[in-house]
Every structure is written in C-alpha cells, then in structure tokens.
Amino acid sequence: MTSLPAKQNKKLGLVIDLDICVGCHACAVNCKEWNTSGHSSPLHDIDPYGDDPTGVWFNRIHTFEVESEINGSKTVHFPKSCLHCSDAPCVTVCPTGASYKREEDGIVLVNPETCIGCKLCSWSCPYGAREYDEEAGIMKKCTLCVDKIYNENIPESDRVPACVSTCPAGARSFGDLGDENSDIFKLVEERNGYDLMPEQDCLPTNKYLPPREKNNQFKNDALNSITNDNDFSFDTWKEIIEDASK
C-alpha cells in the first residue's frame, strides 16, 4: 500500500463549476453531516460553542475576487475538498501505509487503525485536503463518500457524494473522469475544466470549470442607440452617474 497503484481502472472524482457555485456552504455542511456518522466518524469539534471553535471539515468554501478588463470584477466562490490525485504525495510519504489510493476507483483513503498521526501527509498536500482529528489522534480526509456511493441500502439516485446530492445550484458533478465517454468527462472538455496548481505535479482528479464569459454586458453601442433619441448620449449619462457617485 506504500506506493500508488500501477494502473487505475476508474478515476472517480468531482467537477466543480465556479460559474454556478453561489457560496451557500451547503456542501460543506452536508459533508460534515454525512461523514460524522460514516466511515470517518465522528468528526470532532473542539470548543464548538465557545469563543474559538475549530473542528474537522473535509470541505471548505473559500471566496476570491477575480477581476479582468473584459468582465470587470466577479466574486468567485471556491469549494475545495480532496482532489483524489493520481500522483498523490500524501500516499507515498505515509510511513505506515495507512494512507492509500484504491486501485478500483482511485479514491484516496486513510486506514484509521494504522495511522500514527504524524501529519506528514498534511504537509505534503498542496491543497490542504488533510485534516488532523485531535481527539482521535489520526488523520482524516474526504472519502468521496465511499460509504454512500456504493451503499445498496439507499436509492440508486442518492448514491453520489453528500456534497453533490445537496448542492442546490447543481454546481457539483460526480463521475468517472477516467472514462472518455462519460458525461462528466465531456463536461470538462466542453467547459475547459482545469487542474489546481498543475506545477505541483499531483495530477488531481477533481476538475474546476471556470466562470463563463459575461454575455449580458452593457454595450456602448446598444445604449447609444436608445439615448440618442432623447438628446442624452451614453457619455452624458455616464457623466451624470459619475458626478452623483462623487
């Protein structure tokens, strides 16, 4: 288990659409909800109702501002969980073999029985996907809801990771990214899905879809055609607005 599997039959992973994500944090909450009673249970919280709460979360939503000449400024909500890398450094640095990547579907997991809690895997992960559970003394991480996606006790339509099934906007997709005929693979192709920090050479499985170009921009020409009739040119309007905002 020390090394990565020589070949991967499947590459199960997530595709996150930054164009759709509204930053509601529902995926993070449902992730915690499912996993605190699943494979990695419990996900401990420390001082949950106190002044300085911390705890184990597998999924977190960061927010960035993205500015460009064409699109102006845009707020981008950025959910991030384990990317189940093909060349996962967290697996090879593990001294005990507790951290492993499954050959059958590429999911990276931690064996809670053999993890010694040395935290080296968290240092080797560029994405901050590893979480140390202080109460349990072991590392925990996103399991891609391995206990949900294969669970025959729940309806087939529910057999997707908790973050995917809960997303109210449909910003998250789940599937086999190693299969060129899968819908998810085609989606990545179509929308120019990309890897985070490719220079770290981890070959992440999860992909991110960039926000679409704005198509509802104010076009100077269009405005001019309206305003010309009323003796008010677009530039006059602009001046009035600029004066008012001073």
Binding site: E65, F78, V91
Partner: protein, 328 residues
C-alpha cells in the same frame, strides 16, 4: 538578563506551533549523530584512545542526545504506541527510512560503545558503520523536508546538507568542549571543528539568500483563474482558525526573524569560533575556562534550536495561498 531571556524563550517554546518536539528531536539527535560522525573522522586520521572519564562522557552524551531526541520525536504523534508501524514503508517514505535508519544505527553504535570502552581495536569498524548509518539517518531527515514540493523554502538542494553540517558542527563542538573539560588534546579536532562551524554558517547564509526567491505556485495557479485575470483573496471559509491555519500557516515578523537569525549566527557560529581561536589569549582561571566552554556549548545548542525554529516558521506552505497569501 540571560535568565530572563531564557524564561521568555521557554514560555514561547511551550506555546508555539512548529512542533517543539520535532525541533528538539532534530537538534538533539543531530548533535548525537554529529558526535559519532566527528569521532569516526578523527579515528580515520588519528588515534582516539582517550582516558576513561572522557570516553564515558562522550558515550553518555551521544547516547542520551540521540535517544532523547528520538523519543521526543514520537511525542508529536497522535498515536505514539503505533510508531513501530512506521518502519514498514521504506520503499516510498523518507520518514519511514529515517525511522528505520535511526533504529539500525543502534546496533553498531552499542557495539562500538562497548568495544571502545573495553579498548578492543575492532571498535573502529563499528564506529565507521555507526557513522555511516548516522549520516544516512540525518540524510533521510533532510530529504523528508527537501522532498516536499509544497514548501518551496524546503524543496531545494541546501536543506539536506544543512541538516548534516549542523549536526556535524555542533557534534564536533561538543567533543571540543569536552576536551577542554578533560584538559586533553585530540589531533586535528581543532581544525575539524572550526571548518565545520564555518561551513555551517556559510551554508545557512547561502540558504537564507536562496529562499528569498518566490516559487512558481501563486494565488493564480492555486485558484487557476489567473491567466487573464487579477485574482485576490476575498474571504476565508470561516472566521476562526482550523487545523491547516494552525499547523501550516505560521507567521513571523521580519524584524523578529532577522533578530533570531543574528542570535543563531552569534550563539552557534561566532561565539564557538571565537572561543576556540582565542582560547590561548584568554587569561582566566582554569575552572572558569571549563565553565565558559560549557556555557559556549549550551549557547550553541540554543542557537541551533533557534535555527530549527526559524526553519519551520519561515517555511511557507502553498496551502496559505487559499488563506490570503499571494505568493509563497
């Protein structure tokens, strides 16, 4: 004054985050291994048949340093009782290799101690093998950090040699201070100690210059939208801290870091070199001289702890790009 300084430092050490057990371990074990490596160099070029008291203290000091260091390294583990499991993955993990090499070193080391004490000549072969294994152990420690692409300040060619030379310089300084204590002379030790101390200082300064350059990872590659856009951090996932921010995102003010760098240079390099070179001109009582060499060694060790602390706290992890840093 010194006591107050040490007290303040001690308090900081108890609270700080780059794991103190790791800092203590790397410095202590490094010193112990350094003593063994230095002894094997001396044995190669000269006789090392010291008197019993000197031998015994060298044996005790190197053994205690190595062992206490290794024991303290298990303190930061979530499950120290499972530490034995870490010997299994030497094919891929530098941490596993380090643990294995550290344990293997004990075999020739204990035999060397015994045979050296009994004055049997074959002790040299065990000393040499213990020394080679010591080098391998420190090398593995260095490589463990140097192989982490996520920390650009560690992912370079200087880190492993620094670990080796730091151990060697403080190890040979320990032997040198002991020769002062037992008022004995060891051939070539003078030159060896000075050379390793000077190398230690030189390498560290080169390293500090090197880590000023920023890595290719930035907020743009971390978010992946930086090609035609200006990306800036807006808000984190929560207002409180989390495991990542406490474990990996530690900050130190530049002035404070520079002050600590100066402390290391003076305590671990300049002071020992001065004491060794200027010893003949110091007109002091023999007892005071012994005491001052003891203090020099303690200060040099404190300097090494400071250096290791800086090594950890000044190492920016790329995950900080998701928490407000633009570059690492």
């Amino acid at each position: 004054m010194i006591m107050i300084f040490l007290l303040i430092l001690g308090k900081k050490l108890l609270k700080m985050h780059p794991s103190k057990s790791i800092i203590f371990f790397t410095v202590m074990s490094g010193t112990g291994y350094g003593i063994i490596i230095c002894l094997s160099f001396l044995a190669l070029i000269a006789e090392i048949n010291f008197n019993y008291g000197f031998k015994l203290s060298l044996i005790l000091i190197s053994f205690l340093f190595i062992t206490l260091g290794l024991l303290s390294s298990t303190l930061h583990l979530g499950h120290p009782e499972r530490a034995w499991r870490s010997f299994s993955q030497w094919r891929s993990s530098w941490l596993s290799r380090e643990g294995l090499a550290a344990v293997l070193t004990y075999i020739p080391l204990m035999l060397f101690y015994l045979l050296w004490f009994l004055e049997m000549d074959i002790f040299k072969y065990f000393l040499y093998s213990a020394s080679i294994l010591s080098v391998i152990t420190i090398y593995c420690t260095g490589q463990m950090y140097a192989s982490l692409k996520t920390v650009p300040a560690w992912n370079n060619v200087y880190v492993t040699p620094i670990y080796l030379i730091n151990g060697l310089s403080i190890g040979s300084l320990s032997i040198y201070c002991l020769t002062r204590f037992y008022e004995s002379e060891v051939q070539h030790l003078y030159q060896f100690t000075l050379l390793s101390l000077a190398l230690c200082l030189m390498l560290k300064i080169i390293y500090w210059f090197h880590i000023r350059t920023k890595s290719t990872s930035s907020i743009n590659t971390a978010i992946g939208l930086g090609k035609d856009n200006k990306v800036s951090f807006f808000e984190g996932p929560h207002t409180g801290k989390n495991f990542l921010t406490t474990e990996m995102i530690n900050k130190i003010k530049k002035e404070k870091a520079n002050f600590l760098r100066l402390c290391f240079i003076i305590l671990s390099c300049v002071l020992p070199i001065y004491m060794i070179v200027q010893e003949a001109t110091l007109i002091i009582d023999a007892f005071i001289l012994k005491l001052s060499f003891f203090i020099t060694l303690v200060f040099a060790l404190i300097g090494m702890l400071i250096e290791r602390y800086l090594f950890f706290i000044q190492a920016k992890h790329v995950v900080s790009l998701y928490y407000g840093e633009n570059k690492v």
